[in-house]
Point group: C2
Chain length 109, copies 2
């Protein structure tokens, strides 16, 4: 389970991949494999959650890291490269690095 809180010092990466619907499942497999062979073993990796859009055209990874240095060190690992490279033959991606500003809960009336 991933927990989002404005109180934590984590760095959040929200990477949005755009894909043809017929390739969405393959993209999910590739990002899952990259995470399982490499990312989950990386120092400073806290949690990630993979999302598929209901219209089939997007896959978004929401990932939490302890620091930018830890994230960059993972990017130097060659093990996930074949998965990322195949992913980029079927998808484009828009990366984003964030801090959480605030979380909102329902108002109980």
């Amino acid at each position: 389970m991933t927990q989002i809180s404005a109180d934590s010092s984590v760095l959040t990466f929200i990477n949005v991949f755009t894909v043809k619907p017929e390739n969405q499942e393959r993209l999910v497999e590739l990002l899952t494999s990259a995470t399982n062979v490499s990312v989950r073993y990386a120092t400073g990796f806290i949690s990630s959650s993979l999302h598929r859009s209901t219209d089939g055209t997007k896959v978004t990874m929401y990932a939490q890291w302890r620091s930018l240095e830890d994230y960059q060190a993972m990017r130097d690992d060659p093990k996930p490269l074949p998965y990322f490279q195949e992913a980029l033959t079927i998808a484009t991606f828009e990366p984003g690095m964030y801090k959480v500003v605030k979380t909102f809960e329902p108002v109980k009336e």
Copy 2:
């Protein structure tokens, strides 16, 4: 706190706003106001988390809803419209509606 889990039936909206860095703070204020006057009172709203990119060019709202019908009913509420309308004068936005495929935890070696 927002919790992400593949086991839940929630519908997730990840809306990425692109903005000039000098307008990022104002956009955060507008989305906060829209959430506080309307979204938090809506039936079926579970949680949302607002993120600002460290480079100043993006603001991303990660929001969980019980159903599409609940989300659409909120969109018919006129109260947050002034905030959304001002937001769209300083930002573009790319909406996305998702299901969580999987969450990943670190492997403890």
